[in-house]
Symmetry: C2
Subunit: 316 residues, 2 copies
């Protein structure tokens, strides 16, 4: 079957639903944004989205030019096409979103969670182009992951595989939103970075600009900027965070011996001052047979477009 | 292409090379064993093996009845067909064993390491029949693993994926043969079980039959037998070992959300007194979305035949 020139990507967030029409070269040629809330039922939401989408679809030559649509959404299940109990979305229960959009548009629709979509985007258009084995690690409010083995995203028996952010790295460690303790996410997500800053401020007498920010307001961005300006405490926070990530990746390597770990999201905008510690700790801790085999890379998807591109890659 | 009725499995160990001719129902219909050492070159080894094999191949109707051959060997690489620097084998460097046997026999030959072969055997004939996502964990002198995702063994970018025994579960913990510290294998292999017994004998004043055995002689079997006889210290060793395994599996679940973890090897012959702790610790520690989803099973391949059957499954 001949491939059609465009795919639709939907980045479905709690506030906005950002649609993009994407060509084969990863250009978002058309965009439209619909508020996620305020539609009442999910059926009405889909109807309103399609109404907003039709004019832009017409501009690229109509629905006959669209290969399919991909959706990146929290708690989305690739196997079932459903969204299950997503806490930040306005609908409860089990939402058959792929079917609803598929019926309304008349094209195949696939959905998956944000981190898996990012991995797909990375493989189609980004730093993982040409790779068959890699792990995408997305850092933000939480830590997500998309694992690619033999060129395929690992979904597991239930569609929910790839939750490396919930690997327990410190038994009995920091409380996690999942109800357990010591998950990687509690150390290396944005809020995790801030928690490490708080811990260091408690443990040391080191001066730092971070001490002048209310603890509830500290963002990983503040830590990056402070570190960039030579703030020793902030630099130590990046070192601790980077080493935790590197040690975790050294363990992940035992699973699937990847070509690369690709990092994406706010906390890694700190760049080399963080990433050099990830690399160092990875090489120091990895099993000897894997030494020097995996690259530690930053995503090269543009942050603002990555979610749409990733979702769209699902439809390729 | 029509499948032929038999495959050959080779369990290549440091002392013996055990060949079996296996039918479609996992019956080993013919066997022959050749010493692994004493042949000089690997070329002569292959020649001698083939000479020993030919009469048994004739008994099943000749080489035209053989689909192919699979080899389970230490440090074997599925991608390259080579054995790389295996410390217990008589050849050094990089041995192209699959090619040597393939040329000599005129059938396709595939090789992989013992744990991956066990996983293949489990999927073809054992407890994982019909499963597409599971992890085989083999306990013995070390801890090996074979990971199956979407019905395929995970080999990674280099053919060496699946070393879960070298996941660091206790940072800075027990010294491991790999040169690092705190690997799962140092706690849950046969010798790992013995080390836990030693630790408990040091920490407690609990009476135990294990105290009458020289520490270099304690085997996991002694611990199992003692526990079975109500020895409280031995029971505690099984509890600690089982909980470590369960906690490790809870983390492994985040990767590939498997249907089952299947345990194989000497230390798990302890049975329920060990496995109940694996299950308990798994369910207590796994991410809530995975609760109740994975079975914790014992292999149902007969120990003495499992290596041959696993290797033979590679040729299916």
């Amino acid at each position: 079957m001949e491939k059609k020139p465009f795919v639709i990507g939907l980045d479905l967030g709690g506030t906005n639903s950002a649609f993009g029409i994407v060509d084969r070269d990863a250009n978002i040629v058309e965009r439209v944004t619909v508020p996620t809330t305020g539609h009442g039922t999910v059926e009405q939401y889909v109807k309103d989205c399609v109404a907003a989408l039709m004019p832009v679809i017409e501009r690229v030559g109509g629905i006959s030019q669209i290969q399919g649509m991909g959706v990146g959404a929290p708690n989305a299940n690739y196997y079932t096409g459903e969204i299950l109990q997503a806490p930040n979305l306005p609908w409860t229960g089990c939402i058959p979103l792929a079917k609803l959009f598929g019926d309304a548009l008349g094209v195949p629709v696939a959905i998956t969670n944000d981190a898996n979509a990012a991995a797909m985007g990375e493989m189609a258009y980004g730093a993982a182009k040409g790779m068959k084995n890699f792990i995408e690690i997305t850092l933000g409010t939480g830590v997500g992951s998309g694992i690619v083995v033999n060129g395929q995203v690992v979904y597991g028996c239930d569609g929910f595989a790839g939750e490396l952010g919930h690997t327990i790295i410190v038994p009995g460690g920091r409380e996690c939103g999942c109800g357990r303790k010591g998950c990687l996410e509690t150390y290396c997500s944005g809020p995790g970075v801030a928690r490490t800053a708080l811990e260091l401020m408690a443990q040391t007498r080191e001066k730092s600009v971070l001490r002048d920010i209310a603890s509830s307001k500290i963002m990983s961005k503040d830590v990056s900027i402070a570190a960039n300006n030579g703030d020793a405490l902030a630099m130590e926070v990046l070192k601790i965070t980077g080493r935790r990530l590197g040690e975790a990746c050294a363990n992940f390597m035992n699973f699937c011996s990847v070509e690369a770990f690709i990092f994406f999201g706010g906390p890694v905008r700190a760049g080399e001052p963080l990433m050099k510690h990830v690399r160092e700790a990875f090489e120091e801790n990895v099993l000897p047979i894997y030494k020097g085999k995996a690259q530690i890379l930053l995503s090269n998807l543009k942050d603002s477009d990555a979610a749409i591109l990733g979702a769209s890659a699902l439809a390729l």
